[in-house]
Every structure is written in C-alpha cells, then in structure tokens.
Amino acid sequence: MRIVIVGLCIAAAGVAITGATGGVIEGSVKATGLPSNADAVVYLQQVAGQFAAPTQPANMDQRSMSFVPHVLPVVVGTTVRFLNSDPTPHNVFSPDHEKYNLGTWPQGQTKDHPFATCAKAPCVYVQLCRVHPEMEGYVVVLQNPYFAVTSADGHYKIENVPPGNYSLAVWHSKVKGQPKAVTADVSKPAVVDFVLTK
C-alpha cells in the first residue's frame, strides 16, 4: 500500500512538471563564439493541424535604440504591434519575403503589421529602422505555437507539446545548427541540447 501511494505521488509530480495536456521539451543552446546564448528560437518544425493565431497582437518595442525583444517568434497569422518608446521618431521596414515599410511614427504611437503567410517556416523577417542603421530585430514566423526563445544562459523550455515524434530545430541570426529528433511525452521532459556554429 505504501509503495502505491509513493507511486501516485511520483505520477502526480510528473504531471505537474510536464503539464496536464502535453509534454515538455527543454534544454540548452550554445552559441559558439558569441558572448551570449540568448535569442535563439527553438521550435517544432511541423505539427499536425491548424493553429489559430492569437487574437491579441504580439508586441515589439523600439526602446533605447533597440528592438525589444530582439527576436520575436510568432505563429503564422499573428499581428505584431510595433511601439515606439523612444523620444525620437522610428521607422520599421523589412526587405524580407513580401517586404514592407510601415513608415515613421513618434514616441508613444504604434503600428500593426500582420504576418499572414509563411510558405515554408521559419519565415524570418529582419526588422530595420531606416533612420537608425544600428537597430536590428527579427520576427520569426512559425507553423505552430510550440517554440521558445533562449535566455542568456542558453536555456529554453517548450511546454504543452502534444505527445508525439517531432523534428526540433533552432534558428539564430548569426549561428546555425542541425534539427534533432525529439519525442514529446507527458510523463517526462525531453532534454535536447544544441551547439550552434557559424
């Protein structure tokens, strides 16, 4: 009887770790030769089904002459709201895919841009400001919502992944790595590490 209770506790703990409806995929990304391991996007390349874009826009700020966050992964169909928090006018344009130029707007104002299509994920859009060439950010459009961005120490965690076998890929603006096979399981987290090189 005592063994059964312990077993139930472990099972409960497992559910708490991985979430009630899906598995967890986590690990670390090493960006070789770079001062930080941040801003790598780890994502499932293809997941069966259609995924609705969020009803609320994702936000990318222009603050202290930088795009914040530097990298913003979104599921296809998401609208991104670009805010200017700086006292100087900013512009947003991208020379990638369908290309766009959203114009220039002052502090406190926003402009929305929908990322409605992506023929082959990831669709990477570099975000640039015409008047401040040092500014650079990225919107990474993906097929599904199972993605995460690494922190400075390289850690990432993708939660609520439907159980199954997938190809786990990683995108970084400066370094590259090969996709890896992964199995999502509600009973235990899958740990996948990447080493990216130029």
């Binding site: 130029n101 002052p106 015409r130």
Partner: protein
C-alpha cells in the same frame, strides 16, 4: 514690417550702401522665446547651443572664411549654412549629442539609394530598385519635413528658403560620407541681412529669448540670459563681435571685476557673420 533694405555694416562698424534684399528672401525679425525656454531647459542641463567652445585661446581662433566673399553679398555653401544653422546643436560632424539631440548622419544616409542598396547587400538581402526607391524617397521626405517643421525638441527651420536647403542638403550628404557628394556642392549668394538672420535664428535664438527686459551687468552671474533685443542697446558693435567670437569678459561694474559668464565661444562664426547678426538685430528689432 521691416524695410526691405539693409545697411551693410562692416566689421569695422562702417556703414555701407543700402542694398535691396533679393525678392525670394524675406528677412523677418526673430520672435518668441528661445528654444531652451520653450523646452523649459537650462543651458546647464542641455547640449543645445553648445556647438560653441568654452573659452578657446583667443590667439587660436581661426574662423573659416566664406568662399568668394564680398562685403555686399557673401557666397555661402552648404558647409556655411550648416555652420550657422545646425552646428550649434548637431556638432561639426553631425553626430550631435544623443539621446537629447539626434545624429544627422543616419537619416541622411538612409535617404541615399546607393547607401541603402549597399546596406541591404551587406545584409545578404536582394531587394529590387523600386523597394529601395520607396524607402529612400520616404526618408528624404521625412528629412525635409523635419527641417521645415521641426519635431520633438527640434525647432522649425521653416525660415530656410528652398534655395538654401538646396545648398545645405548636398553638404549633409558630404558630411555623411556619401560617395560623390563633394561634386554636388552648391553655393548661393546671400545678402548680409539674411546671413545675420540665419545666424540669429539658427544659433543665438537657441538660448536667447527674442525680447525681454534689459539686463544689468551683474545678471551675468545669475541664471538670466539676456534677450536678443537688448544686444544693440547694451553692446557696441565691436563688443558684440568680440563676445560672440572670443568670449570677451563682461565688466561687472566694480573696478577690475569681470566675468566670462556662461556663453560658449562661437569661434567658428566669421567676423562678418557676427557683424551681420548685430546689424540684423539692429535693423530688424526682435519681437
């Protein structure tokens, strides 16, 4: 309405012949509060107006000379227009003092087709000419709109004529290091009254209100910046020119006591330009 004539005063204070102002240039008095006053800033907590230097040795002052100068109608290039209209805030190289004052370089480069094309190529992006043209023309429009209307903390420079902007604009390209800009430099002929107006509106008015009560000599020790309207009344022509270009100390009334005050030294203005500013303030009293 100011008379459409201007008595040319040389650096020696001599009156020259009356001269008609060109039909396309309307000289108007400087009006209203200074830029600093408008922004509720003090000269100490702002970079505005600090294009001048603090107490350079007078014997090292070597001001630039306008190209082909004549006493009656100096020829000004874009470099001269930048010097008297922009440099006080944006520094000699356009780098300015971010974040309070933004650099000119980025916006100017972004209006260049060749620069933006090279920038995209360096990023590994293949973009068509139409996209680049759309970007650069929009940025050119933004640049000119900013010049005309100002924006955020920058005052309007709507007093600049199309001809003046036409001369200034290629110099901004040259300052931004854009290839071939040297060959596009232009020079225009400006009446001295206009030169004085540009100096006052583009440099002096950053810190000095147009009008206000005359100041006593001792106010140099206070936070009060004397108005432009007081200059012709309180300074001789030569004192004004020396103060602007060399930072001459001001006598405070008691024997042997004088002070430089807080005013930077604008040694990059020529003697003729400082003289033109004084004459302009005399003939077109600030309002």
């Amino acid at each position: 309405m100011a008379p459409a004539v201007f008595v040319v005063l040389s650096a020696r204070g001599m009156a020259g012949p009356a001269q008609k102002i060109g039909a396309t240039v309307e000289v108007t008095p400087v009006t209203g509060p200074s830029t600093l006053h408008h922004l509720r800033r003090t000269i100490e907590n702002s970079s505005m107006g600090w294009g001048g230097q603090w107490s350079p040795p007078a014997n090292l002052v070597t001001p630039p000379r306008p190209r082909n100068p004549t006493r009656s109608n100096p020829a000004l290039g874009g470099a001269d227009l930048y010097r008297i209209s922009c440099r006080a805030c944006h520094r000699p190289d356009g780098s300015a003092s971010p974040p309070e004052i933004n650099s000119i370089i980025g916006p100017v480069q972004a209006a260049s087709v060749s620069f933006m094309t090279d920038r995209m190529k360096a990023m590994g992006r293949q973009v068509d000419a139409a996209f680049i043209h759309g970007l650069t023309s929009a940025n050119e429009a933004d640049l000119r709109k900013r010049l005309r209307a100002g924006g955020h903390d920058m005052p309007s420079f709507d007093h600049l004529t199309d001809e003046e902007i036409g001369a200034l604009r290629p110099y901004l390209d040259q300052m931004a290091g854009l290839p071939g800009a040297e060959k596009r430099q232009r020079y225009i002929s400006e009446p001295p009254a206009r030169v004085g107006e540009l100096v006052v509106k583009g440099t002096c008015h950053i810190c000095h209100d147009a009008t206000g009560p005359d100041s006593a000599p001792t106010t140099v020790l206070s936070d009060i910046i004397p108005p432009l309207s007081s200059m012709p009344r309180q300074k001789t022509f030569l004192d004004f020119v020396r103060k602007v270009r060399e930072g001459a100390p001001i006598p405070l009334g008691s024997a042997g006591v004088s002070s430089r005050g807080r005013m930077p030294v604008f040694n990059y203005l020529t003697e003729d330009e400082a003289a033109a500013a004084y004459s302009y303030l005399t003939l077109y009293p600030p309002k």
